[in-house]
């Protein structure tokens, strides 16, 4: 079951996202894919990572992977459990969160995120969950990591609704607005997908820096709605290790909820 020679694109995505958390101290865990990526990081590259859940938990030690980000296993054995006004006010808005880890339905080249609606807000084609804590995480976490699968529907030239601000219209623009507005966060810094790893260049635009094993530039371009920028030193992401795969398959997601 844990044959490292064969792994899914989702497994590679989760592993790459987890590795991105090496050396980080305090991470705000979003619902869905970020949840499994962060829990994998805690078991591998970042054992001292402090997990913060918007439900009001600091220093969580989940004994199992919580299906929801509100689960009794994130409470038992945690360092602190506080009300949500304290969690969002005293921890996030105060600037104590190093990394906010988000998923997204739509993202543009500047890392602006939509999790609210596809189509017109008043008459949506598809109603999405909305902000939750994403809007304030994008503004107040010191930096933001994004994990999501690539597709023409999700990587778009123009998002239908801006739920969480990224680099806005570009770096110059964003840096000035964040500075003048007293935002504590510098915005998105890493985007991990099922095909590769992106960072943001000096224009604040997403740049492909590493391609996952088996993924091709063609596949990347086919699933992005703009002419994506590719690093001149494009790397290949090291494949998942046997241990990383074992943790995902046997401990974190035996049901395959995240990796199917």
């Amino acid at each position: 079951m844990t044959d490292p020679a064969t792994f899914s694109k989702s497994e590679m995505m989760i592993v790459a996202a987890a590795r991105a958390l090496a050396d980080q101290r305090v991470c705000f865990v979003g619902v869905g894919l970020p949840n499994i990526a962060v829990n994998l990081a805690k078991r591998t590259v970042a054992p001292d990572l402090e997990l913060v859940y918007e439900a009001g938990v600091f220093g969580a030690r989940p004994a199992r992977l919580p299906l929801s980000i509100g689960d009794p296993t994130i409470v038992t054995g945690a360092t602190a459990v506080v009300s949500m006004v304290e969690l969002f006010g005293y921890y996030l808005q105060r600037g104590l969160i190093d990394v906010g880890f988000l998923g997204a339905a739509q993202i543009d080249r500047f890392g602006n995120i939509n999790t609210t609606v596809i189509g017109d807000y008043a008459h949506p084609t598809t109603r999405l969950p909305g902000s939750g804590g994403a809007c304030e995480i994008a503004i107040n976490a010191r930096e933001v990591f994004v994990i999501m699968r690539q597709s023409r529907r999700s990587f778009v030239e123009t998002i239908d609704f801006r739920t969480s601000p990224g680099n806005l219209g570009g770096a110059a623009d964003a840096d000035r607005i964040r500075r003048e507005g007293g935002w504590l966060g510098r915005g998105p810094t890493v985007v991990v997908t099922d095909l590769g790893i992106y960072h943001f260049d000096e224009r604040g635009e997403m740049r492909l820096d590493s391609l996952h094993p088996g993924a091709t530039l063609e596949a990347v371009r086919e699933t992005i709605g703009w002419d994506v920028s590719v690093s001149s030193e494009l790397a290949e992401t090291p494949p998942p290790s046997a241990e990383e795969l074992r943790l995902i398959r046997e401990e974190l997601d035996p049901g395959g909820v995240y990796t199917k």
Partner: protein, 300 residues
């Protein structure tokens, strides 16, 4: 529960059944459905399955929220269909914030403040679609941030581990924003796993989140939060949340579920019987995880 809902929840009320994934009073939600309340404005950060069921049952005309989904599973079909206009005879008005915005709204209500200031919404479309999210200028320097208005529910309903007959309520585990939602409300219903003697409360006053002073009714309803959970008492019934996904995707299946599990049972006791002892037993936590004791000391 029947009397508490009959006496305190009125057609047209703004109702908040709060509890962030933890301590969600499904028992109260189902009773509101059975009593056929109408035109409610339902407020919750995460509508969750409880509001998907209540809105499918037609009790609400408006939803105030910040994250609309089945956590870790998917969407909430009944609510989504009404927002997307698929059920023309049951339109659903929505008013949308972020989590901190909703928490701030309850906090402003609890503190009797005309607004709550926060550093959210900058450069987003949320204030565009919700004109109640407004900029506010600091009287110190020229900084402008955002404000949200107070949310003052007519009725707030929360579930807790324990309360005294007087309504002094204690909770451990996730606290969400129940305290804020309760202090913000005009009327408060507390549903508990266990009714305890006043002395149990007074032995650990730092554990009290809500005083009986603001509580209008205490209802004893063990397992009343299923399929959500109660720290130390029972686990989140993830299977239920997963099973809800296909039901919720189909309006007919959703209505059939309501007939069978809400209208078709004799109150909460009937629901639990139907669920079965085995299912419930499987949700009990493993070993105990005791908090330990602290000493307040006797001072005479």
């Amino acid at each position: 529960m029947h009397d508490a809902v009959a006496d305190l929840v009125r057609d047209g009320d703004t109702v908040a059944i709060e509890g962030f994934t933890h301590l969600i009073s499904f028992a109260a939600g189902h009773e509101i459905i059975r009593q056929g309340k109408r035109n409610l404005t339902l407020a919750r950060l995460t509508p969750d399955l409880v509001y998907d069921q209540m809105i499918a049952a037609g009790v609400a005309r408006k939803l105030v929220f910040s994250w609309l989904g089945n956590p870790g599973v998917g969407g909430l079909g009944a609510i989504r269909r009404r927002i997307e206009g698929e059920i023309p005879d049951q339109p659903l008005e929505i008013e949308e914030y972020s989590h901190f915005g909703m928490v701030g709204r309850y906090t402003a209500g609890a503190m009797n403040l005309p607004f709550f200031p926060l550093r959210s919404y900058f450069q987003t479309d949320l204030p565009v679609v919700n004109p109640l999210i407004r900029p506010i200028r600091s009287p110190y320097g020229d900084e402008t941030i955002y404000a949200v208005p107070p949310l003052r529910p007519d009725v707030t309903i929360i579930h807790a581990q324990r309360a005294s007959a007087a309504g002094d309520t204690q909770v451990w585990g996730l606290l969400g924003c129940q305290k804020e939602a309760a202090f913000a409300a005009d009327r408060v219903i507390v549903v508990v796993e266990e009714l305890v003697d006043e002395d149990v409360i007074r032995a650990d006053p730092n554990r009290t989140i809500i005083p009986g002073l603001i509580v209008d009714a205490v209802v004893v309803e063990p397992w009343g939060a299923h399929p959500s959970y109660v720290q130390g008492a029972y686990d989140r019934d993830n299977r239920f949340y997963l099973d809800w996904d296909p039901i919720s995707r189909d309006e007919a299946a959703t209505q059939a579920w309501l007939r069978e599990w809400v209208h078709g049972v004799e109150g909460r006791a009937g629901y639990l019987d139907k669920l079965g002892a085995e299912r419930l037993a499987s949700l009990r936590p493993g070993a105990a995880a005791p908090s330990g004791i602290v000493d307040y000391g006797s001072y005479r």
